[in-house]
Amino acid sequence: MTKILIVEDDPLMSRMYQKIFKFEGFEVDFASNGEEGLEKIRITKPTLVLLDIMMPKMNGLEVLEKLKLDPETKAIPVIMLTNLAGTQDAEAALAKGAVKYIIKSENEPKQVVNMVKEILAGYTRNDVPNISPTS
């Protein structure tokens, strides 16, 4: 079963995305800060990671950087999920190897799921490019 890891500190957001992915039949796990997220990714090897940027302990961009340095985890596709609206953050994330950059407030949960499905259809686990195509 496809396993999605949601790394998100805000319980409101975390719960919402957990729900929608469960509704859509995904196996869902979550972490509520960067450090925990990194740990869970290393242990559970999820199919795809939804990663928030503003988080305590370790921010999303740092987590992404560490993931991409580790040969064990660098092939896991990562989608940045945030409410920061600056294009600089989007560019920084994509340059660091994120597959997509989604602004939470601009997308319905269902749209987020659709994007994830689209990405999973496009790439297998071993075939994730370092720099993703633009959306």
């Binding site: 919402m16 995305y17 929608i20 509704f23 409410n83 920061l84 600089q88 939470k104 407030s105 269902k110």
Partner: protein, 781 residues
């Protein structure tokens, strides 16, 4: 330098120059001339040589004719019966025939070719078997005297001569017989061999060597020289001289060539005689001629200037030296000496003139002495007069003393005035120090650091805050200032230049000991002083607090953006999930409508938050623009697709009228253009009840214009003025704001965004009840 030496040097130089030119020209013209003469001589001797050969041959020609004649004579006297004459003729003939001399052998043949008489004791059976002899026989039988080229008979070189024996009375008839002689070739050889000083080659008309006196190898004699340049030149020019390679090798030679010319009836066989003299031998002979000439030349040009020099020295320089010596003696005061020059030339005249001048001088000198004596007497008289005058002056002195008394009174008055002025100055000084104290206190109490530095870089004054900030006093402060500002400005240079060109400078964000400061530098100009600039002032302001404030404002926007939108996103997400996955649970239409409203409200709230944040960013120039080339047509099409007009309850149309020409690429932030378009189309949809919205484009000079036309309610003239302002929906007042939903910031944001891309938004036209057209422009790429 002495005149004599100068003259000697001039002579020496002219001799040198003449010598060099003389030698060079002598060598050049001499060698050319001598070579020419040499060539002529060569040609001459060659001509003489061939001529002597020709003459010898001609003698043989005459010989053979006279022998033939003698035979006839013998016949004639035989016929007449004169015994004595017959005997004589017989004797003569025999003698002739027996003479070896220039002939090898002589034959008298009858017309049948049989030998009648011969110089040979043993006669071969038939001498006509030899083709050369046969040819000579036949030619003579025809009536002509004949001679051959050099031919070989019995292995010996010879020339065959033949002459017909014809009776004079029977002239015109066939000859009775033929006289034939073989010329003894060594005679020619001897002629050539006798020439010792040059090499001679005799060549026949076909270029084959006949004979040569050359010692350079035997084969030269008979070698074929057909292609040798000398031979070819001789065939062409007959006579001449040329420089070429020798007949027997590579040696360069001067070659004189002559073509055989013949002598009277002997026309010759076309031989060519060539004389060769090696070139180096020519040069030797040239030198032999030139060197004696050069020696004479040398002697003449060396000796004649020397003679000239001696002449000049005796006749000119010595007299001048004498005059000089005497002139010098005059300087000592004695005018007795006179010049002794007896020549009648210019120097003589000079001597005479000098002597007469000396006489005149001596006269003037004695005159002068007399005059001095007279003047001295005059002076003595004058001194007497002066003494008298002095006495008169002494009397005047007492009168002067009275005047001095008046001066003393004046001085006292001045003293009193001076005391008065000093008092005034004291008052002013006190006033000044009060002013200074006030100024000092203001400077000390300034909320900013204050430094004043003179033009020599010395600290004039600094307040305590400046000392505190820079952590020292006087010169230490200035050093610290230089270090802190070293990345921005050379403080020393600023101080030095302050009078001209430098102006007030401001440096913000200078970090110093972990805090942020703003530095202001300004020259102090004093109008009353000529130098004008008297130093600089530095103000230091702690801006750390302001900076922290500014940074927190920056952070506020991203945090607000994040924090406000997160709960709103949760509301929106959850309501949409309820609507989608719990449709069963909220079958009740009222409940469903309420959830719908919550969903829509959250969306609207998110949009309003976004608008507010955008306005803040735009107003503070913090909006990021990602300016790139893009296809405007594509953006319009994509954007319009996002509007779901068919599903709405109003049933409006939304069309994009593409222009006939393809739109050029434009330069801007595609995302922002999309937002502007969404705003305009959204507004039109909001205020249009029926009909529809048309988007079209128009190509301008430097930009592309996008027009959004609707058939909505239109905007009144009064309301039009309020468009594009913050919070101004085209409504009358705050309380009558249109509730169509929105922040009222859309057009304002659109205007600001386009401004950031170099575009413009405006209302093209609007008519109440009929509709409006809004337009915006984007620059072409």
């Amino acid at each position: 330098m002495k005149l004599s030496r100068k003259i000697f040097l001039i002579f020496f130089a002219s001799v040198g120059i003449t010598l060099v030119f003389g030698v060079l020209s002598a060598l050049y013209f001499g060698s050319n001339g001598v070579q020419k003469t040499f060539e002529e001589k060569q040609l001459e001797s060659a001509l003489q040589l061939i001529d002597s050969i020709d003459r010898t041959m001609y003698e043989r020609y005459l010989d053979i004719e006279s022998i033939a004649g003698l035979v006839i004579f013998q016949d004639v006297v035989k016929d007449k019966g004169d015994e004595k004459l017959v005997k004589d003729a017989d004797y003569l003939l025999k003698k002739l025939l027996s003479t070896s001399g220039p002939w090898n052998s002589l034959y008298i043949l009858n017309k049948d070719g049989e030998v009648a008489v011969s110089s040979e004791t043993e006669i071969k059976e038939n001498i006509l078997l030899n083709t050369e002899i046969k040819k000579a026989f036949e030619q003579a039988l025809e009536g002509k005297t004949y001679y051959s080229d050099v031919v070989k008979i019995s292995d010996e070189n010879t020339i065959v001569f033949s002459s017909p024996i014809v009776d004079r009375a029977e002239r015109g008839k066939l000859a009775k017989g033929v006289a034939i002689g073989f010329y003894s070739w060594p005679v020619i050889e001897e002629i050539i061999e006798n020439i010792k000083d040059r090499e001679v080659f005799l060549i026949n008309s076909r270029g084959v060597g006949i004979y040569s006196n050359s010692k350079e190898g035997e084969n030269v004699d008979t070698h074929n020289h057909q292609n040798h340049p000398t031979f070819r030149k001789a065939l062409k020019d007959k006579n001449g001289v040329m420089e070429t390679s020798s007949f027997h090798g590579e040696t360069q030679v001067l070659s004189a060539y002559v073509l055989q010319k013949g002598y009277l009836q002997y026309a010759g066989s076309g031989w060519i005689l060539v004389q060769e003299v090696p070139m180096n031998q020519i040069f030797l002979s040239v030198f032999k001629v030139i060197i004696p000439i050069l020696l004479i030349f040398l002697v003449v040009i060396v000796v004649s200037p020397l003679v000239l020099y001696l002449l000049v020295k005796n006749k000119v320089i010595l007299p001048i030296t004498e005059i000089t010596k005497i002139t010098k003696s005059y300087q000592t005061g004695s005018l007795d000496l006179r010049v002794k020059i007896n020549t009648k030339d210019e120097i003589g005249e000079l001597g005479e003139a000098f002597n007469s001048m000396a006489n005149r001088l001596s006269e003037i000198y004695t005159g002068l002495e007399r005059k001095i004596k007279e003047r001295t007497e005059n002076l003595d008289r004058n001194i007497e007069l002066l003494k008298e005058k002095n006495e008169a002056l002494d009397k005047n002195k007492s009168a002067m003393l009275n005047i001095l008394e008046d001066d003393r009174l004046l001085e006292e008055a001045l003293k009193a005035e001076k005391a008065n002025v000093e008092k005034k100055v004291e008052e002013r000084t006190r006033e000044l120090s009060r002013t200074k104290a006030r100024l000092d206190s203001s400077i000390q109490n300034l909320p900013v650091g204050f430094l004043m530095i003179d033009i020599f870089g010395k600290l004039v004054v600094s307040n305590s805050l400046a000392n505190e900030l820079l952590g020292g006093d006087s010169d230490k402060n200035i050093e610290k200032l230089k270090v802190v500002l070293k990345d921005k400005i050379d403080v020393d240079k600023y101080i030095k230049d302050c009078g001209h060109g430098s102006s007030n400078l401001k440096f913000s964000d200078i970090e110093m000991d972990g805090k942020y400061f703003q530095f202001l530098l300004s020259p102090i100009m004093a109008k009353e002083i000529a130098e004008s600039c008297i130093g600089i002032v530095v103000l230091i302001q702690d801006i750390t607090e302001a900076k922290i404030l500014e940074r927190s404002k920056d952070e506020f926007f991203s945090i607000a953006s994040h924090e406000l939108r997160t709960p709103l996103t949760a509301i929106r997400g959850n309501t949409s999930m309820i609507l989608e996955y719990y449709a069963e649970a909220i079958k009740e239409p009222e409940l469903r409508a309420m959830v719908d409203d919550i969903h829509e409200s959250s969306i609207r709230l998110i949009n309003i938050v976004n608008d507010f944040l955008n306005v803040s960013r735009l107003e503070q120039n913090r909006m990021e623009f990602d300016i790139k080339e893009f296809d405007l047509g594509e953006i319009i099409k994509e954007t319009l697709k996002e509007f779901d007009v068919t599903g709405s309850r109003k049933k409006l149309s939304l069309d994009y009228t593409e222009g006939e020409t393809k739109l050029p690429k434009v330069l801007g932030d595609a995302d922002k253009v999309r937002q502007v378009l969404i705003n305009l189309v959204g507004n039109s949809l909001k205020f249009t009840e029926k009909g529809g919205i048309t988007v079209s484009t128009e190509l301008l000079d430097k930009e592309v214009k996008v027009l959004v036309t609707d058939t909505g309610r239109g905007i009144s003239l009064k309301q039009q003025n309020l468009l594009f302002h913050k919070f101004q929906q085209a409504g009358a007042s705050l309380f009558t704001r249109d509730t169509a939903g929105g922040s009222g910031l859309g057009l304002y944001i659109s205007k600001m965004m386009l401004g950031g891309m170099g575009g413009e938004i405006k209302l093209e036209k609007s008519e109440e009840g009929k509709g409006s057209t809004f337009s915006f422009t984007v620059p072409k790429a």
